[in-house]
């Protein structure tokens, strides 16, 4: 009786080996485990017969059974490991790194926004606050308070779109300076980004464009400070090697006034690019990027600041121009066509 069970126990191992040998999937291997080692499997069935043996036979048979179980478990585990490793190997073999992805759509920020932000961040890092305001303005804020009374020839510098005699589309973001000065007391340092409007449309002008204007008012502000701030701006946006030039000019709301040129980003200030005349600076080596000056005392008088007590400076720059220079965009109108192939490049 006992030898019968022992024979059967001993035959289990080769049977399992043979069964595992034919198996190739984890599911089959699991089936084999259940068949041999499961609660109702072959081993369990043989073990249940042990109780029918004489007590003195039991320990030996039990020992053999345990050995068989250990051997089978080990064989089974090896097989599982082998299959898993084979599976992983197979996975590696069929893995295709070039297969296409689930790639979320790439959104984009309009280049004008991108550059406006870059400009603003230069100034906010220096302590300026960003202010916003209306795009439809009244004559006082846009012209009168900025030392451009009615019928002043300086109004010719900005062809204006009118809503009525005294209401207009702001021609610059300078009215925000006026609004700020009317509502706050010095010292102050603000920048005003935004849309502005002129009655002008050709290859190099669009009736709407964007400006960033800055204003700083304090007690001992100098024109050297203005130059410092603007040099910092040019260096941060265009690079440390760019030179900055101050040239006298005229704006009704600043005195003295200056145009700021920077050395040409395309030709490096030489005026020639690849032995041809530079198209960006027209051979001058300089490009005009902004206007600035010391706040005209007449402007302070209009907003109720004491011109004898306070000094300040203001500057204004065109975002489209800076963007065109920075990215080499040649056609101004592309900014407002919103071609997705154009916008996509500014993701």
């Amino acid at each position: 009786m006992a030898s019968n069970i022992i024979d059967k126990l001993e035959s289990l191992v080769p049977e399992l080996t043979s069964a595992l040998g034919q198996a190739s999937s984890l599911e089959e291997v699991e089936g084999i485990r259940v068949r041999f080692l499961g609660r109702k499997g072959l081993l369990a069935e043989l073990m249940s017969q042990v109780t029918t043996l004489a007590p003195e036979e039991r320990p030996m048979v039990g020992k053999i059974a345990n050995q068989a179980k250990a051997a089978m478990t080990s064989l089974w585990e090896d097989k599982v490991t082998a299959i898993k490793s084979q599976k992983q190997q197979h996975g590696l073999e069929i893995f295709d790194p070039s297969s296409p992805s689930w790639r979320p759509d790439l959104g984009s920020i309009h280049p004008i926004t991108k550059v406006t932000r870059e400009i603003c961040s230069v100034f906010t890092s220096l302590g300026f606050d960003v202010v916003s305001g209306p795009e439809v303005e009244n004559d006082f804020n846009n012209f009168e308070a900025l030392n451009m009374p009615l019928e002043h020839p300086a109004r010719d510098m900005q062809d204006t779109l009118y809503i009525s005699d005294s209401i207009l589309m702001r021609t610059h973001t300078s009215p925000l300076q006026v609004r700020t000065m009317l509502s706050r007391k010095p010292p102050l340092a603000v920048i005003a980004p935004g849309k502005v409007y002129r009655r002008d449309s050709d290859l190099t002008h669009t009736p709407m464009f964007h400006q960033v204007e800055g204003l700083l008012v304090g007690k001992d502000v100098t024109m050297a400070d203005l130059r410092g701030i603007l040099t910092a701006f040019v260096h941060k946006v265009f690079g440390q090697d760019i030179k900055v030039r101050f040239r006298p000019s005229f704006f009704p709301f600043t005195e003295p006034s200056a145009e700021v040129d920077m050395s040409c980003v395309l030709c490096g200030g030489t005026g020639r690019k690849d032995e041809n005349p530079c198209r960006v600076c027209k051979e001058t080596g300089w490009v005009e990027i902004l206007g600035c000056g010391m706040v005209d005392p007449a402007v302070f008088a209009k907003v109720g600041y004491d011109p004898d007590e306070y000094v300040g400076f203001a500057f204004g720059l065109g975002v489209e121009r800076i963007t065109m220079l920075k990215y080499g965009v040649g056609d101004l109108r592309m900014f407002f066509e919103n071609d997705l192939r154009f916008l996509g490049q500014f993701a």
Partner: protein, 794 residues
Amino acid sequence: MLLSLNWLREFVPYTGEVQTLCDRLTMLGLEVEEIRYPFAPLDKIVVGHVVERVAHPSADHLSCCKVDLGYGEIVDIVCGAPNVASGQKVPVAPIGAVMPDGLAIKKAKLRGQVSCGMICSERELGLSEDHSGIMVLDANLQPGMALAEALNLDQIVLDVGITPNRADCLSVLGLAREVAMAFNLPLTMPQFDVLEQGEAFENFTIDPDPHLCSLYQARCIRNVQIGPSPQWLRYRLLAVGLRPINNIVDTTNYVLMECGQPLHAFDGDKILGHCLRVQCAQDDMEFTTLDGQKRQLTKDDLLIWDAKRPVALAGVMGGANSEISDSSSTVFLESAVFHPVSVRRTARRLGLSSDASYRFERGVDHICNTWAMNRAASLMAQLAGGAVAPGVARSEPRPFVATHISYTPAKASTLLGLSLTNDFSHQTLTQLGCQIDDTQLPWTVTAPSYRLDLVREVDLIEEVARVYGMDQIPATLPAVRKTLDDLTLVDPTYDFINEVKDWGRGVGLAEVVNYSFVGTADLNKLGLSELGRVHICNPLSEEMNVLRTEIAPGLLHTLRHNMSQDNVRVRIFEIAHAFVHDGSCDTATKENNRLGILLHGNRFPGRFPYTEGTVGYADIKGLVEHLLLAIHVGSPKFVQGVGHPYLSPEVEIQVQGQSIGRLGKMRDDLADFYLARHEAWYADLDLDLLMHMRGNIVFRPLPRFPVVRRDMTFIAPHDLAIGDIIDTIMALQEPLLEDVYLVNVYEPAESSARNLSFRFVFRHPEKTLKDKEVDKITARISQHLLKQLPVHFS
């Protein structure tokens, strides 16, 4: 301002490089925008000597000439002009020359005779309209000499940008002053004599409006012969962009360009009644200017009148009734100073900006007035053979008063951040023509009569800085001082808008920027109300004549552009102001920051592994929900509306009980109009409202006990909204029901009902829920639903 270098050199002996001059002027604030070569087309034209002329053997009107082109080169030229003759010096276009009209000169045969060049008329050279014959040059000229040189043409002309404050530089004289100062050269005024002869110009009354005309004077030049001006004058005017007319008119233009004082020549015989008055028009008066245009006047327009009628629009343009004609023989020469604002108003209103009005608007030199008048009178006598009558008719209601300005030299250094010496200030201001009393501080500086822009100390500081070199100013960084209040008063708009823009980029939308104005037709097309529109009174075009009352038209323009470029998958957003009339605002316009989102085309990029399918309601709604979650304003409600002008279906978005915008599908006819190829879904949100609604983030501790999930499927009619089912469930206010959402929809074909599977999520805050407890709640919910709604279980 076009400045001829030759002309300039008549005032200042500048002999340096042209580029050096341009650079210096630019750095003085007189930006040289361009160097022009007005006679460049004549570069190849040379002086030729007609050595021999014989009649063409086979053509009556042609001549065969042998022409000496200098340097021993004698060529055959066939010429058709009647006046060609042997011995003449003539302009010749040799082979290879290109005429101003583009004609290239080549070797040719005319009726069998070889011709190697062309003898030119003035018209062919672009010098005048004269084509009656060839141009005959001074007999003393050397053959082979360049024509431009032979005629002493103004070959180099600088286009100088003059800022509105520098009226004094709108003349050769003014720029010459700057050049003299910059290069430390002497300034020489042209010398002339006024030879007065004949009957005196007297008993002539001048009666100016004292407010609008501070000086009016006139001279009379008799027995003038009207005719073309001499070559030098005509060509000089051409070089600076003026069209020669006749010797009298050209003289007034010449003196205007020379010293900046506009002059006007009347035909003296047409001035009635020995008087000139300067007085305003009446409303609705008509007046014909010398360009033949009938002008409608107002009472603000200043006129020159004779005893009976108006004869000129003061400072703007003369009248047709008194203009110089070929038969004129007496000239009344006006030299006046008119009020800048008055001239400007009239010139602008009539759209009639002239060289004269441009200068009057900016202010002319009162003191130079007499010089200009005499200079012109002298030239007229010389060029038109006239006699200047003795005497001047003159009235000066307001003589020139010089401006005295206090100036503290140290202030310039402080403002500019430079250390300037007192000597430098003194020297500079003196060179600029100022008188300085420096016996005490502050100095008293008297500005010259031609510098009307020098009024205040800061104007003088600018002058000193300009001459010192603004580029010498060093760069320092200021300390930005602020108050504590400033830190909390910062306007949040810029940051909030940027946050939303970053959100848009993050969810795969492209930001677009459109014009704030569109055409009335665009707003009408969308069915937007005509009330509240803000119109532009002087629009550039009909397509840009009104501000967007909603921003949708802009996004639709973008859609159309991209459709035309075959960019079909459009996922865009724009943040911009919408403008609506509001009389209570100080700008009469209420501006509102709006966010517009437009989706069109495939939901996914249309490639493996993505599925096909175009965008729909779920896409636009999902984006709106995503944004509202991202900015923490609370959960939205979507309520179907009716009657929206351009969306159908239309869904109102409510947050915290307020309507914050709308979303929906663009009406089909609009989508077609804007070339859409699929459905276009649109959302429009009020960012100003959202900015104020956004809440703080409130931290909640994480739950400690697990959830139990149960799915239930109902059969519901198609017209029962999913939201109604969820609302009905939520109305029970089951405290342990944490969430409920739709997990599946099955819509059997040809059935009016659909199967909706919901997942219910339950959680107890303080213990693990048992199945039995959950069973009780789900039973309550399903009974409630069966009772309240037309649903049943399968």
